[in-house]
């Protein structure tokens, strides 16, 4: 639920409750005031009638309301003495409404010329049901109007107010460590947004610093390891050119060079892995997977021939993807290399490329591999000295980086399926 609607939900509930309570109180108060005013009027009227009766006794014989709004009846003294003024609601037939309508009636008693009379004065009054109905409709309209205006305010004014926030959010979504584009927060007068912008900028600065530090560390580590390796290998290469060496010496030097080469490869693979995981490969482009396969299969042909492995390539579709070209080559190289290395004499490697996936199937041992563990670092069979144990870890790092799915199946051989989005 969006923030705007979220506040609206709570606001509408609160408003509903407040308006309802307010309506009840308002109704009671208003009615109270109306009665008060009516009763005052009736009291005044009573006094006027009594005064008039003192001057004109004919009205004492007015025993029906009829056209006027009072009636007078004689009362025995005993009842009249205990009579007090009573205001009450009652019903009376109204000609115009053709219905009984509520009226307010004052029942009183007075004495004139030693005689006692009962006086009833009426006044038409508010129709309560109509009042409630009117009030209800007014309130509903008020409620709707308020919600509508809040909606409008939310959508226009608040949206405008929250603009710096959404702008920042968009930029954060796009943000990638190591890319040059920095976050540029929008100017805002709102204190919270200002603080948010500052906090995000600070956080990013620190993260970038860490990232740069790490990058620097990887490069320094590379430098520190590569140079001694370079010196050792090159010195041995020079040494092996000396004329006074026996064949045994040469073999020994050759073995040391091979061992150092292994160390070099291991170092290179570890660096590559860190670089991928640190997202240091940024320059993505449209990559033609079919072409890379064709090219690499050609590169591997001598190796495959030497291992007596037949490589077949089938194109069911053209596969393009958007990634770093170097990584794409490394990715595919690792599949091909694995498929050739872990194969049998007279075995085969079958590559199939579809428009959104490719599979590399190879003959090999009859034991299915552990589909989870093969992608872990240094997971390898102990006797393979030429395998760094990082090949599939690199594959996994690359597939994680680009959101590709890599699946291992045992299907009359080992099958790797890579699906692109």
């Amino acid at each position: 639920m969006k923030l705007l609607n979220h506040t609206l939900k709570y606001l509408s509930i609160t408003l509903f409750v407040i308006i309802s309570i307010w309506a009840a109180i308002f109704y009671v108060n208003m009615l109270d005031e109306v009665y008060d005013s009516l009763d005052d009027g009736l009291d005044n009227y009573k006094l006027l009638i009594i005064k008039k009766a003192e001057e004109d006794s004919s009205i004492l014989s007015k025993k029906e309301f009829a056209e006027s709004n009072y009636e007078i009846r004689e009362l025995p003294e005993s009842i009249a003495i205990s009579r007090k003024d009573v205001h009450q609601d009652t019903l009376m037939y109204m000609l115009n409404e053709e219905d009984y309508e509520p009226v307010r009636m004052l029942t009183s008693a007075f004495t004139l010329n030693d005689k006692y009379y009962e006086l009833k004065v009426i006044s038409s009054m508010v129709e309560e049901d109509d009042l409630i109905e009117d009030l209800l409709y007014s309130l509903i309209w008020l409620y709707v109007a308020m919600i509508a205006s809040i909606l409008i305010v939310n959508n226009f004014l608040l949206k405008k107010t929250w603009k710096p926030f959404y702008l920042l959010l968009d930029q954060l979504k796009q943000f990638k460590l190591g890319k040059d584009a920095m976050i540029t927060p929008a100017e805002t007068q709102v204190k919270e947004f200002k603080e948010l912008n500052e906090a995000v900028s600070l956080l990013l600065d620190r993260t970038l610093e860490t990232y740069q530090g790490q990058k620097q560390f990887i490069e320094n580590a590379s430098h520190e390891l590569q140079t001694p390796l370079a010196i050792s290998i090159n010195k041995l290469e020079l040494l092996s050119e000396r004329e006074d060496l026996t064949e045994n010496n040469l073999v020994a030097i050759g073995q040391v060079i091979q061992t150092l080469e292994r160390l070099k490869r291991l170092n290179k693979s570890l660096l590559l892995l860190s670089k991928i995981e640190n997202k240091q490969f940024q320059d993505n482009e449209q990559v033609d997977i079919n072409a890379i396969f064709k090219n690499l299969i050609e590169e591997f042909s001598d190796f495959a021939e030497y291992k007596n492995v037949q490589i077949s390539f089938q194109e069911n579709g053209q596969l393009y993807t958007f990634m770093n070209k170097n990584l794409a080559e490394i990715f595919i190289t690792n599949f091909l290399k694995n498929a050739i290395v872990h194969n049998t004499e007279n075995g085969s490697v079958d590559v199939t490329v579809n428009s959104s996936s490719f599979t590399v199937h190879n003959s090999g041992s009859n034991v299915p591999l552990d589909g989870q563990r093969i992608f872990q670092r240094f997971h390898k069979k102990s006797n393979e000295k030429n395998n760094t144990g990082l090949g599939l870890a690199i594959v996994k790092a690359i597939s994680d980086l680009y959101g590709l799915s890599v699946k291992y199946d045992f299907d009359n051989g080992h099958k790797m399926t890579v699906s692109f989005k």
Partner: protein
């Protein structure tokens, strides 16, 4: 031919110097930023090997200075940083090549000779040895002026061996040069033998004055018969 090595690692510099002196080059060296700057301003070199990380400054600044002096076209950057940024900056500043440490001596040799060929023979990119003539631009081989067709890998092997004549070329070095970096982990590079076998046969049949010898356990050596 005069070559300047700008490299702060004394041992590495010494190995490169020894290797280059075997090729009869005159070699000078500089171990830090200031002495390197002095040398490039005072003298002319046919080829400069330039390390990027130096005490006292960056090799890229030296390259910039060389560019200002219009001398940057014969520079080969040798760096432990396999950094695309540095590579691009270096090449933009006019460097001829970029080699990542650790490299093989034979590879360095091949790159240096490529720079020197471009500088010396008026753009004619050919190598001649005995009765063998290689044109590296057209990728053709002539033996006694008779063309001998080679496949891509055979040609790459032969040209690499020819520029490293009389030197022992490590099989890893040869594999990386011809097959690319992809072939690591590939069973001690024994697979390169079949291409070499074919090449040897072709050379022998055409009575070439050169021969590729195997050095057991290590690699190959091209000698003039």
């Amino acid at each position: 031919m005069k070559i300047l090595i700008i490299e702060d690692e004394t041992e590495l510099m010494e190995v490169i110097r020894q290797s280059l002196e075997k090729e009869n080059f005159r070699v000078e060296s500089a171990g830090d930023y200031d002495s390197a700057l002095n040398k490039i301003i005072s003298f002319d070199y046919d080829c400069i090997l330039l390390d990027i990380m130096l005490p006292g400054g960056s090799g890229l600044d030296i390259l910039q200075e060389l560019k200002n002096l219009d001398k940057s076209d014969n520079v080969i950057i040798i760096s432990a940083k396999d950094s695309l940024d540095d590579k691009l900056t270096g090449l933009e500043l006019g460097a001829d090549d970029y080699l990542t440490k650790p490299f093989h001596i034979a590879e360095l040799n091949a790159r240096i000779k490529s720079v020197l060929r471009r500088k010396s023979f008026g753009g004619k990119n050919t190598v001649e040895l005995a009765n063998v003539k290689l044109d590296l631009d057209d990728r053709t081989l002539h033996i006694d002026n008779q063309p001998l067709p080679l496949n891509r890998k055979e040609f790459d092997i032969l040209s690499y061996m020819v520029v490293n004549k009389n030197r022992l070329v490590n099989k890893t070095s040869l594999a990386e040069h011809v097959w690319g970096d992809h072939m690591d982990e590939a069973d001690d590079y024994e697979f390169i033998y079949s291409q070499i076998k074919n090449l040897r046969k072709k050379l022998k049949e055409s009575q070439a004055g050169i021969e590729i010898q195997a050095v057991y356990g290590l690699g190959y050596k091209l000698v003039v018969l």
